[in-house]
Amino acid sequence: MSDTAAFPTRSSQRASRRPLQAPQALRTLLRSPLGMLGLAWLVVIVVASLTAPLWLPYPIEYQDFSAVLAGPSAAHLLGTDELGRDVLSRIFAAGAGSLITTFLAAVVAIGVALPLALIAAASSARIETIINRVTEIAMSIPALVIIIAVIGAVGTNLYLVMTCLGLLIAGGIYRVFVGQAKSLQSQLYVDAAEVDGLRPAMVSIRHILPNMATTIFVQFVLVFAIGLMLQAGLAFIGFGPQPPEPSWGGLIQSASKQIYVHPWLMVPTGLVLVFTVLGANAVADTLAGGQGAPPSQVALGPEARRRRRELKAAAPVAVESAPEGMLIVKGLTIGVDDGPELVSSVSFEVAPGTVLGVVGESGCGKTLTALSLVGLLPPGVNPREGSIRWGARDLARLDESGLAAIRGREIGFVGQEPMRALDPMFTIGYQLAGAVRRLRGVGKADARAEAASLLGKVGIVDAERVLRSYPHQISGGMAQRVAIALALAGRPKLLIADEPTTALDVTVQAEILSLLRGLVAETGMSMVMVTHDFGVVADICDEVVVMYAGQVIESGTVHDVLGAAEHPYTTALLAADPHAGLGVVGQERLASIPGQVPQPRDWPTGCRFADRCAFAQPQCVVPVPLIARDRGDGGVRCVRVHELQLGRLDDPVPLDAATPVDGGADPTAPTTAAAPARNGKVRS
């Protein structure tokens, strides 16, 4: 069991996200109108209150008997109270005391919480536990009650009272700080600094503290807002500065007595207080960087409505239906709504009972392509053109309910991260039996039995125990088997697998692959396998498409593509991956070529690989079509394919041949595939 409390607070969760660095936070603040408005108000209130004696229109006790309980006028901008005293003068005369003592509370809270957090982060688990316990106690005490008891003992000495408040709040602030201090502590450069022989205290001060600057400031402002409200509340019930000394809470309290005769009196002080707290919260929220929740997986509200509207408005495109069990993708283009294109005109076919591999580096659009085949694209990302023909339907133009009828029942999906693919709150039995009931319309008992037999099918021996388990109680490999069982629950004819082995241990990878191979052979279903591992392709696929920067750049049978790759990108990948084609599964290895896949908005109109291609030539800047392969069926997207004849080399990996070339500067292009493989090492 972990030593943390059962209650994560809102602020501690917020802190677990990466905070903005100070300069970046400042820029965010400057760019946010709300944040700036809040800041401006705070500055005005603080400056006006602190300089009040210099500019107040009336002494605070001055009574204007000609204007008792008057509304705003030229003489009294905010009106007068029941004794004819000027409200504006009293508000700002009261300001300094309130602001200074509240400032004190914030200083105390931060001053206590911060060192505690740094100590807890730097010391042993034991000391951290002790500090955690103490702060938990502080957090579960009703602060206002204790503070009133303090007032009973020491009187309404605001400095003392606000110091106590600071101490009581420090527990909550500590929680925020400690999370962040710990994550900073564990970062590499801190370790490095420790190795350098700095004492832990110095590490904290030199490396951790500066990175916490934004959080510290945010918490300071939040405590300030809380303190201001609490102090006004205390003054309101008579535990504030004693009359005649004005205070904001006291002003509101005496205004409340006039509510029947002159309600206006409530307005000025109340609004000053509300705006000051609002201003502080606005500044804190802006600096904290808003809520950094991950993008939703479900289209919600306007997003969903928009898609529905678009689908309705779109002219029906007549697509001829695909033969039963055949998936035909034609000219599929996927893009962000009102944003860049992410996948450009992709075409391929998957015949019943065959396995298609989709290979490429990260950021080439292969996962998006896979997701579009099940209608699981993230909200805001949609097919723009082209079609995904499945039977009589076009999945690129199907609405949510149409897709729901296909998902799981006809096309199943297995994702990359098995541990995150299962809902941690429900047992595996609940999730699997639920899916069986939904997808096959069977009763509860039958579904349970079917769930157990599905688990047996995916190679889980003690099905009953696994059914009773929660996802956190099983291993990653086991979880992936469960995820495959889930995908099979509706007996789909096509399975989309998005890097199903990437997150697993090497030995488990091989097991999962052979499981998938077996399932394909047994059930006759077809499969689309997204991977960055040519070993996986060689092991399990019949056909393969290689993607680069949103395009298919080479396609064909596994035999042709792996044995005689024709595109410079494919050859470079293969060259960097000596085991490819040998069917050795394991190690992370799609390879590497110097440079990076360009971002969608940087895609050139010409060959998208030109930047990194060793054979790039001036003619490569024109749009490149998919040209029929030299040998075998399929296509290659390279204008120089016939000229280069890369596929005809007997040995595609001559490690010492060829002169390296800087992308096209050399007019005499080398004729081997080896050059690009020299500089980089494997990494996807």
């Binding site: 009650v145 006004a232 309290q253 409530m266 999906f413 429900f426 956190h472």
Partner: protein, 313 residues
């Protein structure tokens, strides 16, 4: 799980103990002795000292504390210095008022907060912006000011509801209800704002998780994804924020009781502090802490029950 329960229980007991020591010390740190209060104005120095002597005020602090603790554990919290009534009786008489207020506000703010937060997260767009404004305002408007505004609108302008005062449930359930509407609302708005924010953030966090994709891939209807799976995972932080809110609301009820003239524990502690009624202050603070700690413990156990990782450990 058992170990967890024991640990949490021990921490709860420690909290109450720490508070009892703290308030005991505070009572002794003041410069008024009980004798002064009990004998009243016009009492002689001898009378005062005799009284103090009698209640053991001059004994070592530790002896006095243990004596207090001993009788407190048997249900004797002493007698009030000002009117001689039994402190525990007084607390029990007032408890229903504060309980109605604090629990009422907790329920209202939880329901309102969760509904608004879920709506904001699910509907997005305009609804989301409106809830944001509400959450921002709710967190910034002090309860006592809001209370007066509510009184102005509902009691002064239109006499829909009573402005102040409390009707006991036994005397008139409907009177009890309407006497509580404004105080509960006053107290609940701030809490609702906080819980709405937490709920919205937790829902969005849950909806961004990868298992949501798995649910969609197995044809789970969207409403079930939202209201069963996402809400279930958001339930942990939501319950946690309700627990935090209860602490704040219980404390905040002091101000609201004073504002609406409700004869609860808050008014009592305000009076006791004003009159330096040591046994009353001590008793009320410790009982209030006890209530807060017990409710928090219950919510925490709820949460550990909701969390499969904790439950199965």
């Amino acid at each position: 799980m058992i170990l967890f329960v024991i640990k949490r229980f021990a921490l709860a007991v420690t909290t109450v103990f720490v508070v009892s020591v703290l308030v005991f010390l505070l009572v002794h740190a003041g410069d008024t002795t009980p004798g002064v209060v009990a004998v009243g104005i016009g009492g002689t120095q001898e009378q005062i000292e005799a009284y103090n002597e009698q209640i053991g005020w001059y004994d070592p602090l530790i002896v006095q504390y243990l004596a207090w603790l001993g009788s407190a554990l048997t249900g004797d919290l002493g007698t009030s210095l000002t009117n001689g009534s039994d402190v525990l009786d007084e607390i029990l008489r007032r408890f229903p008022v504060t309980a109605s207020l604090a629990f009422g506000a907790t329920v209202v703010s939880s329901v309102l907060g969760v509904v608004l937060g879920v709506t904001a997260a699910v509907r997005r767009g305009l609804a989301d912006r409106l809830v944001s404004v509400f959450a921002g305002m709710g967190a910034a408007v002090p309860a006592f000011w809001l209370g007066i505004v509510l009184v102005f609108v509902f009691a002064v302008q239109s006499s829909l509801l009573p402005a102040t005062g409390y009707v006991r449930f036994e005397d008139s359930p409907s009177g009890w209800f309407s006497s509580l509407v404004l105080p509960v609302l006053t107290l609940a708005i701030g809490g609702a704002a906080f819980i709405a924010r937490q709920t919205r953030a937790s829902m969005l966090e849950a909806l961004g998780q990868e298992y949501i994709r798995t649910l969609r891939a197995t044809a789970m209807p969207t409403w079930r994804i939202l209201y069963v799976h996402a809400l279930r995972s958001a339930s942990l932080p939501i319950v946690a924020s309700i627990a935090l809110q209860f602490i704040a609301l219980f404390g905040g009820s002091i101000i609201v009781e004073v504002l609406f003239a409700l004869p609860g524990l808050g008014v009592a502690v305000q009076g006791a502090v004003g009159q330096a009624d040591a046994p009353a202050v001590q008793g009320i603070v410790v009982v209030a802490t006890l209530v807060v700690v017990v409710v928090n413990l219950l919510l925490e156990l709820t949460n550990s029950f909701l969390d499969p990782k904790l439950r199965t450990s």
